[in-house]
C-alpha cells in the first residue's frame, strides 16, 4: 500500500533553475525512506512538494490512501521537521508543541493532554514551561520532533533534522527516532547528506543526483530492526555504506 506517489514530478524555479526533472517515487506504508544526495540535488524540494509547500511545474503527487473527495497533502496527517528547530522564541516549549493543534482549533484540555504525551515521548516533560533559548540544540530539536508528533501523523517528513547537531547528540537522536518509529509505525521520509546516517536509519535509500535533480538509485537496506550501536560496527552496515557510497559517486559523476 502506497502512502504517496510522485509521478514524473518536475520543478523549475522562477529564475530558471531546474530543481527536479522527471522524479517518480512510490512511498510505501510503514517504510523508513531516506533521500540522500549532494547539495542542490533537490532532495529538500521533494520533501517540500510532498508537504504542499510550493507548486509542481509538471507531474502529479497522489495520495492513494486518502478518503474520497480529499486530495493533496491536507488529506493526510503530516508531521514536518525542519533542519532548524524552527521554534517560536516567544512561546514556551508546551505552547510551541501545541501550535498545530491550536491552529486546528482543538479544545484546550484535549490539546494539553496530547502535548503532555508528545513531550513525554521525547523525554522533555519537565521542560514544558521553559523557553527555547534555555534549551540546548539537541533539546530544541526534540521539541521540534514533539511538535511534529502531536498531530499523530502517519507520514513524518524530516529535512536534515540532525545536520546541525554534534555527533554524540545525533547518534542519540537517531536511536530515539528509530525507537519511536518502531512504536508508532509511521512512514518516514528522511532527507540527509550523510550516507552513514541514512544506512543506520533506513529501510530504503533513494540516491539523488544534481543538476537537474533526479533519482539515481533506489536501494533496499534489509537489515533487521531493532538496530543499535552494534549495527554501526557490523560487516553488514559497512557493506551497505559501501553500496550507497558507490551509488552516490556514480550519481555525482554522471
Amino acid at each position: 500500500m502506497s502512502v504517496v506517489t510522485l509521478s514524473r514530478v518536475g520543478k523549475v524555479y522562477s529564475n530558471g533553475t531546474v530543481a527536479l526533472d522527471d522524479v517518480s517515487l512510490d512511498v510505501r506504508d510503514g517504510e523508513f525512506l531516506s533521500l540522500v544526495g549532494p547539495s542542490g540535488c533537490g532532495k529538500s524540494t521533494v520533501l517540500r512538494l510532498i508537504a504542499g509547500l510550493g507548486e509542481l511545474t509538471s507531474g502529479r503527487i497522489e495520495w492513494p490512501g486518502a478518503a474520497r473527495g480529499e486530495t493533496g497533502a491536507g488529506a493526510h496527517r503530516l508531521g514536518f521537521v525542519f533542519q532548524e528547530p524552527t521554534l517560536m522564541p516567544w512561546a514556551t516549549v508546551a505552547a510551541n508543541v501545541m501550535l498545530p493543534l491550536k491552529l486546528k482549533g482543538m479544545a484546550r484540555a484535549e490539546a494539553g493532554r496530547r502535548v503532555a504525551a508528545a513531550l513525554g515521548r521525547v523525554g522533555l516533560e519537565t521542560f514544558a514551561k521553559a523557553y527555547p533559548r534555555e534549551l540546548s540544540g539537541g533539546m530544541k530539536m526534540r521539541v521540534s520532533i514533539a511538535r511534529a508528533l502531536v498531530t499523530e501523523p502517519n507520514l513524518l517528513l524530516m529535512d536534515e533534522p540532525f545536520a546541525a547537531l554534534d555527533e554524540i547528540t545525533r547518534f542519540k537522536l537517531n536511536n530515539d527516532l528509530l525507537t519511536l518509529w518502531q512504536e508508532q509505525r509511521w512512514t518516514v521520509i528522511f532527507v540527509t547528506h550523510s550516507v552513514y546516517e541514512s544506512v543506520y536509519l533506513s529501510s530504503r535509500i533513494v540516491v539523488m543526483a544534481a543538476r537537474p535533480g533526479r533519482i539515481a538509485a533506489d536501494l533496499a537496506i534489509d537489515a533487521p530492526y531493532p538496530r543499535d550501536e552494534g549495527f554501526r560496527t557490523s560487516t553488514a552496515y559497512n557493506g551497505f555504506c559501501r553500496t550507497v557510497s558507490a551509488a552516490l559517486r556514480e550519481a555525482m559523476a554522471a
Partner: protein, 279 residues
C-alpha cells in the same frame, strides 16, 4: 524512550532578574553631584549674575517658589504628550498591520507617511495651529502625533515583514489562516521592532508637544511648560526658565525609563535584547 539531557535551566534565574550593577546607579549620581557642585561654586566665585546663568540652588528656589503654576503647566504638557504617544503607538501599530493585510494600502499611503515625517514640524506647526485655532489642545496633539507616529509605523512595518520564513512555512503546513499567521506569528515576532519604535516615539511625543507649544505660544492660565519658558525668558526670570527646562528633561527621562521597563518586561523571556549574555 528518549532520555533527558542535563538541564540547562540554571540560566533561567539570571535571565529573569538581571542583577543591577551598583555602579550603574552610583556613577551617574556622583557625576551629577560633582557637576552641580562645580556649577554652584563657579557661579558664586565668579559672581555670575542670575539673569546670565543661575546656580542650581537658585533654580531649585525658583522651582519651589513657582511650583503651583509650573506643576499645572507640566500636567498640561504631559496630557498632550501622553495622548499623542498613545495615539502614535496604537495608530502606528494598527496602520502597519493594515499595510501587511493589503499591499494596495501600503503602496498608496506609505509615501505620504514619509512626507509627513520629513517635513520639519516647526514648519507645519503654525499651519496646523491656524487650521484648528478653536482648539489649542487638538492642535498641539496633532503636531506631537505627527512627530511621534512615524518611528512606530516604520519599525512595526519592518517587524511585520521580517518574520522567519521557516516559521511561515510551518504555519502554512499546518493550515493556518491568514488571521492566525498574523496574530500568532507576525505580530509576536514584530514585537521587539515595534517596542523599539515605541521607545523612540515616547521621547518624540514630548519634543513634538514642546515644539508645538513654542509655536502656539498662547498665554493665559492653561499653558504648557514651553510657554512658561518663553514667558520667563521675556521677564528675564532665568532661574524659572531653567526650572521649567528641568521639569521637561525629567519628564523625558521618566518616559524613557518607563518604556524601557515595559520593553524589558514584555521581552525578558525570549528576546536577545532583554536577556543577559552568559559566560
Amino acid at each position: 524512550m528518549m532520555q533527558e539531557e542535563p538541564p540547562t535551566l540554571e540560566a533561567k534565574a539570571d535571565a529573569r532578574a538581571p542583577a543591577v550593577d551598583p555602579l550603574r546607579i552610583i556613577m551617574p549620581i556622583v557625576i551629577g553631584i560633582l557637576f552641580l557642585g562645580t556649577w554652584e561654586a563657579a557661579v558664586r566665585v565668579y559672581h555670575v549674575p542670575p539673569y546670565i546663568l543661575p546656580g542650581p540652588w537658585a533654580i531649585l528656589g525658583a522651582l519651589i517658589e513657582g511650583w503651583g503654576s509650573l506643576f499645572h503647566s507640566l500636567l498640561i504638557t504631559l496630557q498632550v504628550t501622553l495622548s499623542a504617544f498613545l495615539l502614535a503607538a496604537i495608530g502606528g501599530g494598527a496602520l502597519a498591520i493594515l499595510f501587511t493585510r493589503s499591499r494596495w494600502i501600503e503602496l498608496s499611503l506609505y509615501p505620504y507617511a514619509v512626507i509627513l515625517q520629513v517635513t520639519p514640524i516647526v514648519a507645519i506647526a503654525p499651519l496646523i495651529i491656524i487650521w484648528v485655532k478653536d482648539d489649542t489642545y487638538l492642535a498641539l496633539l496633532i503636531c506631537a502625533w505627527i512627530v511621534a507616529f512615524f518611528p512606530v509605523l516604520s519599525n512595526a512595518t519592518l517587524g511585520l515583514s521580517s518574520t522567519d520564513h521557516n516559521l511561515l512555512n510551518l504555519f502554512q503546513l499546518y493550515g493556518a489562516t491568514r488571521r492566525q499567521v498574523l496574530w500568532h506569528l507576525r505580530v509576536p515576532s514584530a514585537l521587539p521592532y515595534y517596542l523599539g519604535g515605541v521607545r523612540i516615539a515616547g521621547g518624540l511625543a514630548l519634543i513634538g508637544t514642546v515644539v508645538a507649544e513654542f509655536v502656539a505660544g498662547t498665554g493665559g492660565a492653561d499653558t504648557g511648560l514651553a510657554y512658561r519658558i518663553l514667558e520667563a525668558g521675556y521677564r528675564l526670570q532665568i532661574p524659572r526658565m531653567f526650572a521649567a527646562l528641568f521639569l521637561i528633561a525629567s519628564t523625558g527621562i521618566l518616559i524613557f525609563l518607563g518604556l524601557s521597563l515595559v520593553t524589558h518586561l514584555v521581552l525578558r523571556n525570549w528576546h536577545e535584547s532583554a536577556v543577559r549574555r552568559e559566560s
